[in-house]
């Protein structure tokens, strides 16, 4: 003790401890303080949770089917259907067999045809599908407008199972996403090759009427009425899935991009070249970039008067074509003689447009042969098709948001000087929560709620990934700073980064110091 006191006494008396004290304060207090204050602001992200999200989609959905039979053994059939339609790891199908109730018998007796029977059956919840045996139908399997499927006694089991699998979105586009995403597979290319727009909460639909010779053809279209009558019922049925926002416009003097040739069969002209050449001259006049978000362009094109009438090469089809992820174009050949303004009959036009719109939002279900469908009225979509879309888009959203937050966290781990603001962190966490919640709801079969959660997940994931604040340190990333220092040696390295920050920290003080010295000297 005394020895220590002695040493301390000598030290305090004899040595220049001021400089030692200075060094001690600088390194002991200053250095850690500076280290902490020059950190890049990075919020904590749930890295481990995100890692544990399964890349390959493994959500097992439980689907319940109700089987109603008249003359065959319901129990047997139910077991077989459940076995055929279940896909391990994806779908587990539960079939509840029952016989026709008295009510069903009455309805069946009173119905004039299958359409009436379908319309009169009671409403079913989402995720249920009713498989009903009928005495006679035009084809072995008939799909109704609501959640009903009709089959005859002699329908083959394979056909029935195949149809049910198509309706449940087991094959087709969803199978595309049920694979690993490592980016180098063909998966992503397949997704973009699909016709449908990427899943989003709203879709602008722009109806355009193009008349290149307004002085020769006095035509108009009652589009507001048509939207109210034909599009609105369709949009109302889709309001759980996507919010359709219609607008309309007229454009004049838009050129036809190709020169049609004289029709080989029949009169008039036809387009023999690649249809995609028609789009560019039209697109520059459409002005669809004014509408924010994804836009489907549905164009009614009146051909120039000198190419009247104009058809597509294959005349059996309607004179229209779809452009993937863009919209559709239909030709309208007005009658040559008309008194006054010719008002277009919108019913066939809207049938074409709504048919195209159905494909563009994803309703291209490949059904096997021998399957008939009861025609859709102005609702333009069957109830089971709504379920199909919900399943499809939920899976797409979950896959998309999983991939997005996984790539984001991987990116933020590798590039260490990107700012992670509170917004980004909260978006990532809430997206993660939504993904988990949506998967749980999807497994239970609660399609509407699950879709909403998955949509929220993908929107938050996008908001996190594309947050503008992440480029806040744009002008001071390591490579930029060292570049301006013109030292090639300094281009990388953590210590060099800190040294540079140290120099910058003292820079204003050095400047101030020099200023005071110069002012003293100057005086």
């Amino acid at each position: 003790m005394n020895k220590i006191k002695g040493c301390l006494y000598i030290y305090l008396r004899k040595t220049q401890y001021a400089s030692h004290l200075f060094i001690f304060i600088m390194l002991g207090l200053g250095l850690p303080l500076w280290w902490k204050t020059t950190e890049v602001y990075r919020q904590e992200l749930p890295y481990k949770d995100v890692e544990s999200l399964r890349e390959s989609f493994q959500i097992v959905q439980e689907v319940r089917l109700i089987l109603k039979v008249k003359s065959i053994n319901g129990g047997e059939l139910a077991k077989v259907i459940a076995k055929e339609c279940s896909l391990p790891g994806k779908f587990s199908v539960v079939v509840t067999p029952s016989n026709y109730s008295v009510e069903d018998e009455t309805l069946s007796y009173l119905a004039l045809n299958l359409e009436d029977f379908d319309a009169s059956l009671p409403e079913l919840e989402h995720y249920h599908l009713q498989i009903i045996e009928v005495d006679k139908s035009e084809k072995p399997v008939v799909l109704g407008r609501r959640r009903n499927l009709f089959f005859e006694k002699k329908t083959s089991l394979n056909l029935l199972a195949a149809v049910i699998r198509s309706i449940l979105a087991e094959e087709g586009p969803t199978s595309v996403v049920n694979q690993d995403f490592d980016g180098t597979s063909d998966l992503w290319n397949q997704l973009s090759k699909l016709r449908r727009f990427a899943s989003s909460s709203f879709l602008n639909v722009l109806f355009t009427f193009s008349n290149p010779d307004p002085e020769l053809f006095d035509i108009d279209w009652p589009i507001e009425a048509a939207i109210e009558e034909y599009l609105q019922p369709f949009a109302d049925n889709l309001k759980d899935i996507v919010d359709i926002r219609p607008s309309s416009q007229h454009i004049y003097f838009a050129p036809l991009g190709v020169t049609p040739r004289k029709a080989l069969h029949g009169d008039g002209y036809e387009i023999s070249t690649d249809l995609s050449l028609l789009i560019n001259p039209l697109e520059s006049k459409l002005g669809e970039q004014v509408l924010p978000g994804p836009t489907a362009n549905l164009v009614l094109l009146v051909p120039p008067a000198r190419f009247h009438p104009l058809h597509l090469k294959n005349r059996e089809n309607s004179d229209s074509f779809i452009v993937h992820r863009w919209g559709g174009i239909a030709f309208y050949n007005p009658p040559k003689d008309s008194n006054g303004t010719h008002w277009i009959d919108m019913q066939p036009v809207m049938e074409t447009f709504i048919g195209q719109l159905r494909l563009l939002i994803g309703l291209d279900i490949k059904l096997p042969k021998d399957v008939a469908r009861i025609s859709l009225n102005e609702k333009a979509i069957a109830d089971w098709e709504v379920d199909y879309l919900l399943r499809l888009k939920t899976i797409e959203n979950i896959a998309y948001s999983t991939k997005a937050i996984k790539s984001l966290t991987a990116l933020l781990e590798t590039i260490t000087n990107i700012v992670i603001s509170n917004d980004v962190a909260s978006n990532v966490s809430s997206s993660l929560e939504s993904i988990k919640k949506s998967s749980r709801l999807f497994e239970k079969g609660m399609l509407k709620e699950s879709y909403k959660e998955s949509l929220a997940a993908s929107e938050r994931a996008d908001a996190a990934f594309f947050d503008p604040s992440m480029l806040a340190l744009l002008y001071f990333p390591s490579d930029q700073k060292y570049f301006q220092m013109k030292g090639r040696i300094m281009k990388s390295g953590f210590c060099h980064q800190k040294v540079y920050q140290l120099a910058r920290f003292f820079q204003p003080y050095i400047g101030l110091l020099l200023q005071t010295i110069l002012s003293i000297l100057g005086d």
Binding site: Q289, I322, R373, S375, P468
Partner: protein, 341 residues
């Protein structure tokens, strides 16, 4: 003789195939960053590529044009509203229809990186955004002044190779492209793509590290150099390409040999998975639009609503009235007279 014929025949068959392209749309990001009148040639470079790409089909909505100096309306331009890439003024590359997305002071490193990574502020108009998806082939063309490891913006800012590499890496993470063709016509251009690490990028630089890129010729009437060597040869090559042409990228990679261009072309093929001999030039410079004919399934969609039409015909006039079933919209309430022939 027979052997030669057989060889030629096999070559013909082999060259007739091209590996399947996997893109569904095409975009172009064309950037010119030099200021001032004497960098006329950079703007001419940019617009030559712009015109070629437009002619081959990419629409303006899918081209992002960043032009830092407005040469056409520069007070020193003796031929206002025109930009030529040739002393004989063959083609006015400024043209009648041009859509410049980022001009003047808006061409900054910040905007460029935000454009590529998609981190623009949400109120940015759609025409200024790069709305690519996983099936997009993007042509990124940059011209201006460059030094080893960086590209100069407006004479003030630097876009370093690391930043370019990071931007492309982020694009790949979010699958914002299918394939990228990156062309840089600057001095020491090859240094710009040295740090790239993301797949599916084919990079071409007009000169190697340590070399300058040279201009092609000067227009004595204006007094400035009017186009650069590399872009001049690229433009000449693209003139011979049409929308259905079969020219391959391997031919494009050979366009500027050293004895003509005075600098060696730097190419980076290691990140590109396909063989350039199998890739058509139009896969980057042209565009495809997947279309298919639509056949209306009349059995399926059968609307039975009918807007009320009330035609009354007489010899002298006809009245047509259309109204929707809610009565909210009414059309054609006018009386119209038959046209006199």
């Amino acid at each position: 003789m027979l052997q030669k014929l057989a060889l030629a025949f096999t070559c013909l068959i082999l060259s007739a195939e091209s590996s399947k392209s996997s893109h569904t749309n095409n975009w172009a990001v064309l950037v010119e960053t030099s200021r001032f009148w004497f960098d006329y040639r950079h703007v001419a470079n940019l617009l030559s590529i712009y015109r070629s790409v437009k002619r081959l089909g990419i629409p303006d909505s899918q081209i992002i044009l960043m032009m830092a100096e407005d040469i056409a309306c520069n007070p020193r331009n003796p031929r206002p509203a025109t930009v030529f890439n040739n002393a004989e003024q063959h083609i006015n590359v400024y043209g009648e229809e041009i859509e410049v997305d980022y001009r003047g002071q808006g061409v900054t490193v910040d905007n460029f990186v935000r454009l590529l990574t998609g981190r623009l502020p949400p109120e940015t108009p759609k025409s200024k955004q790069l709305l690519t998806d996983e099936g997009s082939n993007i042509l990124v063309y940059m011209t201006g002044h460059g030094i080893d490891g960086s590209f100069k913006f407006q004479g003030r800012e630097d876009l370093t190779d690391v930043k370019i590499a990071n931007a492309f890496r982020e694009m790949w993470q979010k699958r914002r492209y299918n394939e990228i063709l990156f062309i840089a016509d600057t001095c020491q251009a090859a240094s710009l793509f040295q740090k790239l690490s993301s797949p599916n990028i084919l990079a071409i630089g007009s000169s190697l590290v340590g070399e300058y890129s040279h201009s092609h010729h000067m227009d004595p009437a204006i007094g400035v150099h009017i186009i650069d060597q590399y872009t001049h040869h690229a433009f000449e090559f693209l003139k011979s390409v049409t929308q259905d042409s079969d020219k391959r990228m391997s031919e494009f990679l050979e366009i500027c040999p050293e004895k003509r261009c005075l600098s060696t072309i730097g190419i980076r093929l290691d990140l590109y998975q396909r063989d350039p001999r199998d890739v058509k030039v139009t896969e980057f410079f042209g565009t495809i639009r997947p279309t298919e004919e639509y056949s209306l399934d009349t059995a399926l969609l059968k609307f039975d609503k009918n807007t009320t039409t009330v035609p009354l015909k007489s010899e002298k006039m006809s009245v047509i009235k259309i109204q929707s079933s809610s009565g909210k919209f009414q059309y054609g309430n006018q009386i119209s007279f038959p046209k006199k022939v």
